[in-house]
Symmetry: C2
Subunit: 308 residues, 2 copies
């Protein structure tokens, strides 16, 4: 019988789950709100119900379930299957989520950080299909990311690897909640774009999308904001390329439509700052799965574990 797995993507607002075949075909899916305010038990109940519904009603017995993969915000203590340091989900802090889910569902459950899951999803079925090594940067409120090395997520020794949003790109730059100054995410995230719009006098409460619309309309200040953002991304990319010499670096997230405004500066900056970028074939591209990436990556986790 063909194998499939179920991926769950638990975000700050949405809870999504999908049954996906080992070949990457979506067999069935469920979307709903993540009821974080209703407490941990309610969220776990929702997840279990969604998974059981997909397994027992939607897919049925024509496929064999390889397991469940879950992408969740926060750091994951991979070996223990525990979430720590999740600002969005304090109720899950230190909770043995994986073991609880395995008990309730009677099958293998694999936890993964959501940004890592997105990187893995792009590797499996997205823009990184053809490579085994890539770095994904997700531009949002902050900048998250994931590193795929040899086809697998690079975790580091306690699962905290891949914090590219906190690379120092401006040693004396904007202060960051992490304690550092000049973190990439303080200069190149959607939030940073809004911040620059305020600082340059374009508008006090513009979203990055509104700044993008102004750039499309020809506003010079808006264009310069994206150019600056691109330069900072380029500094970080150059360092990543010098460290990893991976063939592919992907960007995803809300500001992606502004690619035409930030990418030229980003690529120019990366090129002059990295001889590896100039001498080894290096692609910097848009991720293609959008907010489906995490779902695909989550579903891939148990399949990947079987491969060993």
């Amino acid at each position: 019988m063909p194998e499939y797995s179920i991926g769950v993507d638990l975000g700050g607002t949405n809870l999504r789950a999908a049954a996906i075949s080992a070949g990457g075909e979506v067999l069935a899916r469920i979307s709903g709100r993540a009821q974080l305010s209703a407490g941990r038990d309610a969220v776990i109940g929702d997840m279990v119900n969604a998974i059981v519904k997909l397994r027992d009603q939607e897919v049925g017995t024509a496929h064999t379930l390889a397991g469940i993969g879950m992408g969740v915000p926060g750091f994951i203590l991979i070996e223990k299957g525990i979430i720590v340091g999740s600002n969005n989900m304090p109720a899950f802090e230190g909770y043995a989520l994986r073991d609880d889910m395995e008990r309730r569902l009677g099958t293998t459950v694999v936890l993964e950080n959501d940004a890592n899951a997105a990187a893995l999803g792009e590797k499996w079925m997205g823009a990184g299909k053809d490579v085994d090594d890539l770095v994904l940067l997700t531009l949002g409120t902050g900048i998250g990311g994931g590193i795929i090395c040899g086809g697998k997520v690079l975790h580091g020794h306690v699962g905290m690897a891949g914090e590219m949003g906190h690379m120092t790109v401006v040693p004396d730059g904007n202060p960051c909640g992490c304690g550092n100054r000049g973190c990439l995410e303080k200069h190149a995230s959607a939030t940073a774009i809004s911040g620059m719009a305020k600082v340059i006098g374009l508008g006090a409460d513009l979203t990055s999308e509104q700044v993008y619309n102004l750039a499309v309309a020809g506003d010079e200040k808006a264009k310069r904001i994206f150019e600056a953002m691109g330069r900072y991304l380029g500094v970080a990319l150059a360092t990543l390329v010098n460290i990893f010499n991976f063939p592919l670096y992907l960007l995803s997230g809300g500001p992606l439509p502004a690619w035409e405004f930030f990418a030229p500066a980003m690529l120019e900056e990366a090129r002059w700052r990295s001889f590896t970028f100039r001498h080894a074939e290096t692609k910097v591209e848009k991720a293609i799965l959008g907010n489906e990436a995490g779902l695909f990556g989550a579903a891939y986790l148990p399949l990947l574990e079987r491969k060993g």
Copy 2:
């Protein structure tokens, strides 16, 4: 019969080779000058003679040879076994060194970049014995380095990974031969220490060792130079820790004796710039094999290849 391998470390000035048991014991060694000016054939002849002497005369038939490992300067096209971009050895540029050595010696030969070999040596028999993941930074004329990930060298897709010396730590800093500005090695190498000594008026032609001696004697300018060097190293370390979350980061090279003068600033800088450094156990330590690291790492290469 117990296995052994032969490691060769070909540097700009010295050619060294050692027969090392699978348990890490040096069975025999040979050291000489690297006759780079005499041309490629002379250097290859010297290497072959050294290896044959170790194999046939020193070790003999009591051990089984697993293969030869060679650490060489420059980028290695790993799959092809070819050196490219070696400033010290232009005669080897594009030459099929591995295949030639295999033909002459009738055994497996594995090529590796010298800094990667040093990192692997520290992992096998040095300061990184207890971990599978580490980053080594070698402070010298420039700053080289190697990344060990899952017990193996991280190569990147054409073997150019690990260029930590060219991480941007000062976006508008000192110009670098690589085309960038503010590369780590332009602010924290032995050469950078000499350069700062000149700029601050301590002396026009001081070596980093002389600057160290002045610091030991209590010279405030010399101390401030090492403090600055430490800060730049800390910026780079923080970014490495945020990216990798590895348990261990090692430093080696000529300026290492000045640890007491640069390490406090380095660690302080890394700590405030990286929440991962503060929250996950992270060690920054001196490498312990000195210039033997490359020899051990080279010898480990064929043993590692057997393990698969």
